[in-house]
């Protein structure tokens, strides 16, 4: 290339100059602007994910440094999952299983009405049967040889909390959202009441409800006493403690569901309701054929976030009973924390991997379900 020798050789302005004068290309500027966020996420999310997967294949007890941190392959997982001697007892959480099996009725009803496909209905029915009839009744037998019965205990209590608290938060959250959307002079107070449980730290909610459920001086037992009933020792017995923790979880999380659904309700076009009223639709029909279908995206979002946070349940059982009585409320989260506290890092990492796979599985399941709808 020949240049006219009289003019100075062309120099492209430097990076900083182009940045100042705004001559960066969109791609360059984009990388620059996205970099802080992506680097933070990579350091705090991506690195831990890879590191935890690598750690889970090592033996690592910080309190036994002389044993080193040898690579042991999948032994942690073998220890966690392995064993024999599973028993099925009909009495274990019977009330809950009956409640779950009752959900087959609306399922059959909507399959008959062709609201959902037959294959999907059959799949869901199998899922309900497996979870409610099978998993909730199965548990490691006392005489069985399980290398880590504690894991199975924490797995089943986590599963139970997911099912009960997610279903409960929708049963309570949907009416809350509908009420918060009704025009009234008290609406602002209603919205404060909806926001407060959402904003309240989970630990505070746990401690507050531990006080409400306190067996001698708590409000709950006082109300029961006035009704002539004898309230249980809520947090000292296994079944009442499970119920109390689930009630607290529902109280705390229904407001999140309510807020997301309220947001969805606010985006529904008012004129649809007016048209339905003109057509003579009853309030119930309007709810079924306008509100609920249009609320679907919000329901899906709330469902995904609720389930994924329910898998990680830690704060509320920890604050209420420290995972007790015994280990009855030691969720996977509490177990991971306890293992870390016991400085058994390799095993805690393996537990984290299981937790992560569980949330991945649920996310994939939900996303497939959303995309097929």
């Amino acid at each position: 290339m020949t240049r006219p020798s009289s003019s100075a050789p062309y120099r492209r302005p430097g990076f900083w100059r182009r940045l100042r004068t705004g001559n960066l290309s969109d791609a360059q500027l984009g990388v620059l602007l996205l970099l802080p966020a992506l680097l933070t996420l990579a350091a705090v999310m991506l690195y831990p994910m890879l590191s935890v997967a690598w750690q889970s294949m090592h033996f690592n007890r910080l309190n036994q440094p002389f044993r080193g941190t040898p690579f042991i392959g999948l032994q942690n997982f073998g220890h966690m999952l392995g064993g024999e001697g599973l028993v099925w007892s009909a009495s274990k959480l019977l009330w809950l299983r009956l409640l779950g099996l009752a959900s087959l009725l609306p399922l059959a009803w909507s399959a008959r009405r062709r609201r959902i496909g037959r294959v999907a209905a059959a799949g869901l029915a199998v899922l309900v049967l497996v979870v409610f009839a099978g998993l909730l009744g199965l548990h490691p037998s006392a005489t069985g040889r399980w290398t880590d019965a504690r894991f199975w205990n924490s797995f089943s209590i986590t599963l139970l909390i997911i099912v009960v608290s997610v279903a409960g938060s929708f049963l309570v959250g949907l009416p809350l959202a509908l009420l918060a959307n009704v025009p009234s002079r008290l609406r602002w107070l209603g919205r404060v009441a909806l926001l407060l449980p959402w904003a309240m730290p989970r630990v505070f909610a746990g401690l507050t409800f531990a006080w409400l459920f306190q067996s001698q001086y708590g409000v709950v037992n006082d109300v029961l006493r006035r009704l002539g009933l004898h309230g249980p020792l809520w947090l000292a017995r296994v079944d009442p403690a499970i119920a109390a923790v689930n009630i607290t979880m529902v109280w705390k999380t229904s407001s999140f569901v309510g807020l997301i659904l309220l947001a969805g309700l606010q985006s529904i076009d008012e004129s649809l309701y007016e048209a339905a009223v003109v057509d003579g639709a009853s309030a119930w029909q309007r709810f079924w054929s306008i509100t609920l279908p249009l609320l679907r995206p919000s329901i899906a979002v709330a469902l995904i976030f609720r389930t994924l946070t329910a898998i990680q349940t830690f704060d509320i059982p920890f604050a209420m009973t420290r995972g007790g009585p015994g280990r009855s409320l030691e969720t996977l989260g509490v177990y991971i924390y306890n293992s870390t506290l016991a400085l058994n890092i390799g095993y805690a990492a393996a537990l984290s991997v299981v937790l992560f796979l569980l949330s991945l599985l649920i996310t994939v399941f939900y996303l497939r379900w959303i995309y097929t709808e």
Partner: protein
Amino acid sequence: MTAAPAPTVHAGATRRRRRGVAYLAVRLGLLAMILNGLFPALWLLLTSLKSEDELTRIPITYLPEHATLHNYLDVFQQNPFARFLLNSAVVSVVATLVCVLFAALAGYALARLRLRGRRAILTAIVMTSMFPALVMLVPLYRLFVGVEVPGLSPLAHYLHAMGWGFMPSSVSTPNLLNTYWALIIPYVALSLPITTLILTSFFQLIPEDLEAAATVDGASRLGALFRVVAPLSAPGMVTAGIIAFVNSWNEFLLALTFNTAMTMRTVPVGITLYQGQFAFPWAVISAAITIGIVPLVLLILFFQQRIISGLTAGGVKG
């Protein structure tokens, strides 16, 4: 058609009565909702005003007989609660500011620039919020204790062995446990997905012409971002900031694990210190929780519509 008026009147009366029932049901529902949301907090407030002997009396009293502020004094005397408040405030405020700044930069790029795969990048960022925070516990703990820097450490070791005795034999990251950074860094990351989502959808609402006008007037792209887009999107930033603040103020597990020194505890962790092995001084715990909720209640009272609209952006688009 002489009988026509009578049925009309009848139908009208039924409708009015129907509306009356529905109206009553909604009113009762609203009251139940307010009671459900506010009763636990109200009960804490009442408990915090009672003396310890009044609490251990059967039947229990609902309103305090002799209201006392003694418990609030105890909160500060038994544990360095003022320090906990300071720690929580510093960590939450810094994490919120950094988070909103990073999210605004990323959100602007995702909303405005012609980037290939920006939709995929946004999806990826939002998907990280599905990542269980619990899984971060072990690796971040190890990271914050200090790990050898890969690449640098072997080099340092080699130089050290070669006779450069003044060189350290390995290079490690600093020990961040029991510092504010151990909490600020993960809190920024925890709130980044939702704040990026909120700000991206907010930037998309600002008319592009305004920015183009600023560029014509000689401002650079970044200049336009800071002088034109940022002020216009202040409401969106406030919303994102509130959500990031609430997330950071409430976080428990990481604070419990990383900052174990008494002077570095945050409020949620500090509050669990009042309970003994067997004794639960409920009056003092209630007072401590009441103080801890105050900032959140203020935020809710002043910004309720903003929070709801922020969750709208997050909920509908996500």
